[in-house]
Every structure is written in structure tokens, then in C-alpha cells.
Amino acid sequence: MVCCFLIHTVCSVNALSAGSSRVLYSRVFGPEDNPETDPERRRLLQKERLLHLARRVRTAVGLCHDAAGSACVECVLGEEAVALGEAEFGVLRLSAGEPFPVERTVLWLGVQNLAFSLVCDVHENLLLAEGTLRNLARHCMEELRLLGPGSEILLKSDRIDALLHRYLPHGQLLFLNHRFTHLLDKELSAYGSK
């Protein structure tokens, strides 16, 4: 099962310290082990864990990008397929405590100056997880117009919720053949229209 999905920056952000990452969207699935009892502190701990995760992924993306040494091709709206084709992909193991209480695996996809991160249980079907991550990233890029200058990712984040609701309900990875996918896509395209 997937425990969370994040979209965050991998470029430097002026307001943040070096190496930090701005989390633009986060969704944690279901109950998590959390030692805090006070609800406010529980939430705070969860958010801090996500920030820590985003930082780690940012470092990994940066190192991978440096090692590859290829120049980043700036893409504009309409060139989502190109941007995704150039995207860097990686897998990281998170030991227990860093930052989640149990060992987990994070798959990340770095597209331009953003990264999409999917955190799964250890021993998850990584082929399926990778396919799901790429699918989610493609949808997000297209529906939120991420290659454009706008801020749909902040104001239209309910679209991501609807997307996750179908393709990753409560964190469950699904074995979807092209027909199931087509039917879900059709439902999704009807989303938001009355």
C-alpha cells in the first residue's frame, strides 16, 4: 500500500534554507503510527515528516541530475510528453525512523523543477508502483498545467484528490488494464463539469 503522495520543489526557493523543499501538495493515506496524543501535535509531526522526506528526495534528485550531467530542457505547455520523457526516476530506501516509524520505499520522478514522490510499504510491487506514479504525474502535468506559469496546483488541488481517489483509493495500488484506465479517465474528465 502507498502511505503518501507528494508534489514538491527540487529547485532552490528563496524563502527557504538551502536544501529545503517546498511541499506543494501532500496526501497521506489513512491512519499512521504517531506517538503524539494531542491532535495538533500529531498533525505537526506528520507535516514535519513530510518535509523531511521532501528534503531527502530533493537531495537524491539533485545528485542524480548532477551525475547524469545532461542539460535540462525547458519545456512549455503542450510538451508534457517531452518533459516526462526526460524525467529522472529513482528509488530510495527509508530506514525505520527516517522519517517514518517503519521502513519504507520511496519512488520519485523528477520533472523540471518539481518532483512527484510516492512512499510505499517495503516489499511492495515496485513495477506497479512505478507505473502508477508515472500515470499520476502525467495527469497532474496535464490537468494542472504545471508547465505553464499559473498556480493551478495550489488552487485546483481538489483535482489531484479526485485523481488519487480513482487511481490510488486509500493508497491501494490497482492492477488496471487499458480498459479500466479508460473508464476511470472518462469519469475523471467529467469531474468538475456540471
Partner: protein
């Protein structure tokens, strides 16, 4: 992509003032109070509210009336999905709500219950909170289908709950779910879905004849419905089939492993048996084409629910493996087939572990599968669960697994070292099976040069895993070769880079030059036949063809232009860490001979390292630490390797190029070159070391007008002095010579170039030390005691330690003398 506009919007949301926020809450409350459908303005405002509550890590407390309103609206009537999503999202981010109220609302509307459940699950604080949701989901499952649609996400929600708290289900509930899962997995309809939303006005009953689902290659479905069956649309049971397969592995791992099954077989009542029989009869009549799977399935009607589920899950996996042989029309379906194979083999592995009688049924299809995909690199990742299956069960089935491991260890790292997911999965496979691989699969240890390729290519991601794997790869036969390989890991990274580029740029020479002349010249060399041997050695897949090569310096030179490439530098950073792991573990099995060899390697390689910025300095530090540790373990290595050590210590150039290592070696000579450590330590030996070091000292401390200031730190001098003193104390003829050298040194330390270069304290320290040693050497027997080597291999015992024992010895002698005087008469 992430623009300043986005950042400033986020900033606004984070820094919104309380007054403005309260006004905003008020406006939203008003908008929500309407009886009409919610308009665009409401949606916009809800989207902004969503942003505000999730923008900061500190929670925003919504006013309680707004919170209650949102909660009530979410559970009460059916809204357009976007509204439900927004309510759910805002509530998830808010501080706690009444979980009981929300859970009660689950029953109201099937469509929104998944969104309501999402809110509940995000707010759960303890295991008791999940009970209402769980019960609701189970009730949904129990209800007959005619009563109303089941929430499609029942199974994902349930799976999430059991991940969090497996004890939440009672034995009966587990059985109930098992029975439903059997229904959905095995007996879903194989007609295409009844609901055809695009049915036209003119379509009559004739066009609504049932059409069977097809396989991914277009053929009519051969057996029961699975996730690899396609149709224009799907009925509810087929959707549930897909959801069920997606979670079955988790279910089996939670409830069907380690003695949770078999023992207490449920006592089935006659009615229950009849019911399950009726279900079976109905379903088997439907399937017109009976494939191998159905024909061979054992009569499972009287099995308890858990065992029955195991049987049906096994059949499902078997069918998926068969179905994956078909050539899919769509590329996405090909990718799905791979994922399905991985899942199917993993599930079969779990089932076989629990009930070994399945092994004989599973192995034929797994073996056939292996035969089909082993040649294709595109299926490499799929091979890993197959290898795990072989590792777990091949002994029982008396099947040879050597060929599978050869693919894994000999082929994949050579050809697919740059695939991050494969590298990760293969490394995790090794980690999970370390004990078995180490002792049972000789190819694993033999293939360490190949396994290092993954690490060389992607050091930052894999280093922590390799720190765990390295000890398992080490053995007395391969230790020296491993040490050489670790020292040349950055070379391997550079070579792999060249290999990849060479393969990519074969087509167009022009591209070669476009990437800068640095890489181009290295590529040229890579392709020349005269250097082939060098590169082939570095890229070798197995150990055993020599610890290292003669022309290593040539390789370093050829690759020198790549030393600044980021990948090589990242790799260089992990080498010191691995060396520490290596040396900490090699002492477990290193005998005298191996220790000598390793020391030799360190000394030799100190002049033969790939020239990367900072790399050598880091390594010398590591070498120093471990050469000391090796000496401590086997002090006689000083005598065994005396020639090499003499060469090393006698070469003044080493002071300038390897200062830290040099100082440590000199110190070691002083500590361990004595009869106490090795009876072979003769006077001649001590004298030859002494003369060598004396010559060095003389050379670096010449007092001449034209002498340049010393470019080495002062402790080099003091270490040399002290070591010479130690040697002199063991062969007292040398003392006069040393005294002379020490007095010359004092003059040197007072000379102008030295005073300009060293600090006053350092210069004073040198002079003081020289005086102390000279004085000490005037009393040779005392000197011998004070400068004596430490006790052999023992932990520091206070009364034996050189430094602490002297005052105690003095006191004891004094007391004895006093006592004696008391005994004397008078």
C-alpha cells in the same frame, strides 16, 4: 514550473491575518447555508479555504459551526463530486472532528462513503477509532447485491485498516471476507459489463446480447475473469475482482501466514456446505471454455474459508501466468502483464511457504515462465521474484536454480547497471537473503565485481545497502581482490560511463566531439585494442582472474580526464566508508598471512590511486587508521614486511605526498619493532631502520642559508625523533649517534626559516622534546623502560601502560627501600 507567482500565492495563504480569515469563514458559512446547488463562487471559496488550511504545518482551527456544517453536508445529501472532494479535503486537514458522527454518516450514501471514510481514517488517533468504519464495511460486504450497490472502495479501505491494526477482525469476520474474496476472484462474470452508458436510443434488445470479455491479445477469454481480461465496460463484480486481486497479497500476508490457518478448521454446518456447493455449481456452468486451470483445480468445496481462498488465489495466479504469455495489443497492457507476473509469483511464493504441497503444482508453471522470459532484458525485473521463489522452494522440488542466479548475478549487472529500479530491487533481494546467498550460492560471492557496478553507477542511493552487503561478499580467498576493487571503484564508475557512451555514440561520430574533447579522447582510448585488456579487467563480471593488474597506473592516466565528472566524484565519496566496513570485518577471519598481504596492498596502492580531488587525502587517513589496527592485531607484520616498510619509511618523498600515512608508519615502527613483539627482531634490523630514518631526518632538517622553510607539519619531526629514540633504546650503540642528530635538530629548530614557518609553541615543543629524549637516553636502562613497547595485544592495563606505570613503579621501589631500611638493624 514552480514560479514566483505560485510562491507568492502560497505566502499569502500562509500569512493571512486572523481578522481577514474570520471574515472569510463567515462568507463561506453563508454560501453553504443556501438550499440551492452550490455555484462557482462557493467552489472557488472552498478551493481557497482548502489552500489556507493545508498551507502551513500548524493547524488552522475552523470555527466549530463551520466545521459541523461541512461534516453534516458531507454525510447528508448527495453532492456533485467536486463538492464532496473539497469538503473531504478541508475536513481532513482540520483538527479533530467527531469520529463517531462521521462514522455514523457512512451508511447514508454509498457514493460519498469513500470520501467520508477518508476523513475518518485521517483523523484516527488510536486503534479503537477504526472499529465503526470497519464494521460498516463488513456490513456492506455481507448485504446481498440486490440491496444496493456496494461501495467500490470497500476493499481498499479494509486493507488500509488491517495494515494499521490486523487484530481488528475477528476469526468470523476474516472468514466472511475470505468467502467474499473467493466469490469475487474466482466467480466474477465473464460477460462484458451490463451497463452500457453509450447505448443509443435506437439500440434494441438484439444489440444487447451478452458479449464475452477478451484477453489482452483480442482472443475470447479462455477461463474465469481476471485483471488481464478486457471488455468495453465492466460490471460491479468485475470491478471487485480487480480490487480483490490488488489487495490479496496483503490479505494473505496478514491472515494466512505463520500458523494462522489450518489449525482450527471451521466446523461447517450442513447449510454452509450446501450454500458453497450451490455457488460452485452456478459458476462452473457459466464458463463454457475450461482451461487447464479449472480442470486441475482440486475439489475445494469442503475446505474451510481460509484454505479455500488460498486455493482460489493460487488458481488466479496460475491463470495470470498463462495469460501473460499472450502478446498484448496495447503497450500499457504489456507493462501490466509484467506487474501481474511479479505479483502472481510473489503470491504463489507466500502460499507455498504456508503449505508446501503447492510447490509441486507451482513449479511447472514458474519454470515454464522462466524459460519464456529469461532471454529478454526487458523482463529483468520480473526475474527477481522468480529467483526468490527458486531460492525458497527449489530444494524441495529438486530443481536446479544455478541458471537463474547466473542471469541475476552475471548478466544483469553487466548490461543493466544503469537501471535504478532494477539495481534497487536486486540489491534488496540480496539484503533479504544474505545468509542463504552467502553460504548456499557460490556465484553470489564470486560475482562481487559485477555487483559493485550498481554501486559505482549510483553511489548515493545504494551506499547504505552496500555497507550491509559487503561483509557477506568477503572471504579469505577474495579479500585482497575486494580491497583492490574498492580502491578502484571510481575507475569502475568512469569506465561504465565510457562504456555507455561508446554504445550510444557508435552511430554518429559528430556527437562524440560535441560533448567536449575531454570525454572524446577518453572514448577514443576506450575503443583502441591496445587498451582493451585494461578495461576488460575493470569490467570483469567475476572474481578470480587476478587481484589487480600491472598497468593500473596507465588506466588511471587514461581516465584522468573523467576524474572531475560528478558521477566519479560521488563514487569517490563512498570509498572511505566501504574501506572502514571492509577492515572492520576482515579482522574476523584474517590470519597472519592475509594481514601481511593487506598491509602490502595499502603501502603499494598509496602510490597508485586514481587522482580525484581530495580522494587521496581521505584514503590516507583511512589507511593510517587501519594499518595501525592491523599492526596491533599482528605486530609481527613489521618484521614480515620489513623490506617494504623500510623502503616506504626511507623515502623522503613520502613525507610530502603522503604525510599522514608516513607519520603513522614511522610511529608503528617505533611501537612494534622490538624483540618483545617478534623474536626475529635482530640488532641488524633495528640498525637498518635507524639508519634509514636518520637519513630522512637529516635530509629534511638541513640548516642551510638557501634552505626553504619546511613544508611538512612539526609532528613529522617529533614522530621521527621519538621513533629513533625508541629504536636507539633497544640497541644502545646507536645512542651517541642519535644524541648528535638531536642537537643538530635543536639548531635547526632555532633557524630563521623554521621560526618563520612554525609557530613559537611548535618550535619550542621540538626543542623541548629533543632535550627530553637526549636526557632520557643518558640513562639507557631507564630509557628502555620508558620507551618500551606496549603490552602485546592486551587492553590497556594500568600497571603495564608505559605512561601510567612509571610513577607507580617509582613509588613501589621507594616503599620497598623504606621497608628494607626498617629491617636493617640499627
Amino acid at each position: 514550473m514552480y514560479s514566483t507567482g505560485t510562491e507568492s500565492l502560497l505566502k499569502q495563504a500562509r500569512e493571512i491575518q486572523d481578522e481577514e480569515l474570520q471574515k472569510f469563514y463567515g462568507r463561506i458559512s453563508k454560501l453553504l447555508n443556501t438550499n440551492r446547488d452550490f455555484g462557482n463562487e462557493t467552489i472557488d471559496s472552498l478551493q481557497r479555504l482548502n489552500l489556507i488550511v493545508s498551507a502551513t504545518k500548524y493547524a488552522k482551527t475552523l470555527p466549530s459551526d463551520l466545521k459541523k456544517k461541512l461534516q453534516m453536508l458531507l454525510v447528508s445529501k448527495a453532492h456533485p463530486e467536486q463538492i464532496q472532494v473539497l469538503f473531504s479535503s478541508v475536513l481532513r486537514e482540520s483538527l479533530p472532528l467527531s469520529i463517531q458522527d462521521l462514522s455514523a454518516g457512512l451508511a447514508e450514501d454509498v457514493k460519498s462513503s469513500s470520501y467520508v471514510a477518508a476523513v475518518v481514517l485521517s483523523q484516527v488517533a488510536c486503534k479503537d477509532d477504526v472499529a465503526p468504519v470497519c464494521l460498516h464495511m463488513l456490513k456492506c460486504m455481507e448485504a446481498r447485491q440486490t440491496d444496493g450497490q456496494i461501495c467500490k472502495h470497500t476493499l481498499p479501505i479494509l486493507t488500509k485498516l488491517i495494515s494499521y491494526s490486523p487484530e481488528i477482525l475477528t476469526e468470523d469476520q476474516v472468514n466472511l471476507v475470505s468467502r467474499k474474496l473467493v466469490d469475487w476472484l474466482r466467480y466474477a462474470s465473464i460477460q462484458q459489463g451490463a451497463t452500457m452508458s453509450s447505448g443509443s436510443f435506437f439500440s434494441g434488445p438484439r444489440t444487447r446480447q451478452p458479449v464475452p470479455v477478451t484477453e489482452v491479445d483480442g482472443a475470447v477469454a479462455g477461463d474465469f475473469f481476471t485483471v488481464l481480461c478486457v471488455g468495453r465496460s465492466f460490471g460491479e463484480d468485475q470491478w471487485m475482482n480487480m480490487y480483490a486481486f490488488s489487495m490479496i497479497r496483503k490479505w494473505l500476508l496478514t491472515y494466512d501466514t505463520e500458523g494462522t490457518s489450518g489449525g482450527e478448521s471451521a466446523h461447517l454446518s450442513p447449510i454452509q456446505i450446501m450454500l458453497s456447493q450451490v455457488q460452485d455449481d452456478r459458476s462452473e456452468v457459466d464458463s463454457s471454455v475450461v482451461s487447464m486451470v479449472s480442470a486441475t483445480s482440486s475439489s475445494s468445496r469442503l475446505l474451510p474459508p481460509k484454505e479455500r481462498l488460498r486455493e482460489k488465489a493460487f488458481e488466479y495466479c496460475h491463470r495470470l501466468i498463462e495469460q501473460s504469455d499472450r502478446k498484448a495489443i496495447k503497450r500499457t497492457d504489456t507493462e501490466l502483464q509484467k506487474a501481474c507476473i511479479v505479483e502472481a509469483v510473489t503470491i504463489m511464493d507466500i502460499i507455498c511457504k504456508e503449505d508446501p504441497s503447492y510447490v509441486y503444482r507451482a513449479f511447472p508453471s514458474v519454470k515454464a515462465l522462466y524459460g519464456r522470459i529469461s532471454a529478454e532484458l526487458a523482463y529483468a525485473r520480473v526475474l527477481i521474484p522468480i529467483a526468490q521463489f527458486y531460492l525458497n522452494h527449489s530444494e524441495m522440488a529438486a530443481v536446479d536454480s544455478e541458471v537463474v542466479f547466473r542471469q541475476l548475478f552475471s548478466r544483469f549487472p553487466s548490461e543493466l547497471f544503469n537501471e535504478p529500479a532494477l539495481a534497487y530491487e536486486l540489491v534488496q533481494f540480496c539484503r533479504a537473503n544474505i545468509a542463504v546467498l552467502k553460504d548456499g550460492v557460490s556465484l553470489y560471492r564470486q560475482s562481487f565485481p559485477n555487483l559493485f557496478k550498481f554501486l559505482a553507477w549510483n553511489s548515493p542511493a545504494l551506499i547504505s545497502d552496500y555497507m550491509e552487503l559487503l561483509p557477506s561478499l568477503m572471504s579469505p580467498n577474495t579479500a585482497v581482490e575486494i580491497l583492490h576493487s574498492l580502491l578502484d571503484l571510481p575507475c569502475l564508475a568512469a569506465t561504465l560511463d565510457l562504456q555507455l557512451r561508446s554504445a550510444t555514440y557508435q552511430a554518429s561520430e559528430r556527437v562524440l566531439w560535441d560533448h567536449g574533447s575531454k570525454i572524446a579522447s577518453a572514448l577514443e582510448v576506450f575503443r583502441q585494442p591496445s587498451y582493451r585488456g585494461l578495461f576488460l579487467y575493470i569490467l570483469r563480471p567475476e572474481a578470480g582472474s587476478g587481484d589487480t593488474i600491472d598497468r593500473l597506473n596507465m588506466l588511471h592516466e587514461v581516465l584522468s580526464e573523467m576524474a572531475a565528472s560528478p558521477r566519479v566524484m560521488q563514487c569517490a565519496q563512498v570509498v572511505p566508508v566501504l574501506l572502514h566496513v571492509f577492515f572492520n570485518n576482515v579482522t574476523e577471519f584474517a590470519d597472519q598471512k592475509l594481514t601481511n598481504q593487506l598491509t602490502l596492498v595499502l603501502l603499494e596502492r598509496s602510490s597508485l590511486l586514481y587522482n580525484i580531488n581530495q580522494f587521496k587525502i581521505e584514503l590516507f587517513r583511512v589507511f593510517s587508521t587501519h594499518i595501525r589496527a592491523l599492526c596491533k592485531l599482528h605486530p609481527s607484520l613489521i618484521v614480515d614486511q620489513c623490506r617494504e616498510l623500510l623502503d616506504f619509511a626511507g623515502s623522503t618523498a613520502n613525507i610530502y605526498s603522503k604525510e599522514e600515512l608516513y607519520t603513522n608508519v614511522v610511529w608503528l615502527i617505533g611501537e612494534y619493532l622490538s624483540v618483545a613483539h617478534d623474536p626475529r627482531c635482530s640488532v641488524e634490523l633495528i640498525t637498518s631502520f635507524f639508519e634509514s630514518l636518520e637519513a630522512v631526518l637529516f635530509e629534511i632538517s638541513q640548516v642551510r642559508q638557501s634552505a626553504s622553510p619546511p613544508s611538512y607539519p612539526p609532528h613529522v619531526l617529533t614522530t621521527l625523533m621519538t621513533t629513533l629514540a625508541k629504536l636507539a633504546s633497544r640497541s644502545q650503540d646507536l645512542i651517541p649517534r642519535l644524541s648528535l642528530s638531536l642537537s643538530k635538530l635543536c639548531t635547526f629548530a632555532r633557524s630563521k626559516p623554521v621560526l618563520a614557518c612554525y609557530s613559537e609553541e611548535d618550535a619550542e615543543e621540538i626543542i623541548t622534546r629533543a632535550h627530553e629524549l637526549t636526557n632520557l637516553l643518558k640513562l639507557p636502562s631507564v630509557a628502555q623502560f620508558v620507551l618500551a613497547p606496549p603490552a602485546l595485544g592486551e587492553s590497556a592495563r594500568w600497571h603495564r601502560d608505559t605512561n601510567t606505570s612509571l610513577p607507580r613503579a617509582m613509588r613501589t621501589i621507594t616503599e620497598l627501600l623504606h621497608k628494607q631500611s626498617n629491617f636493617l638493624p640499627g
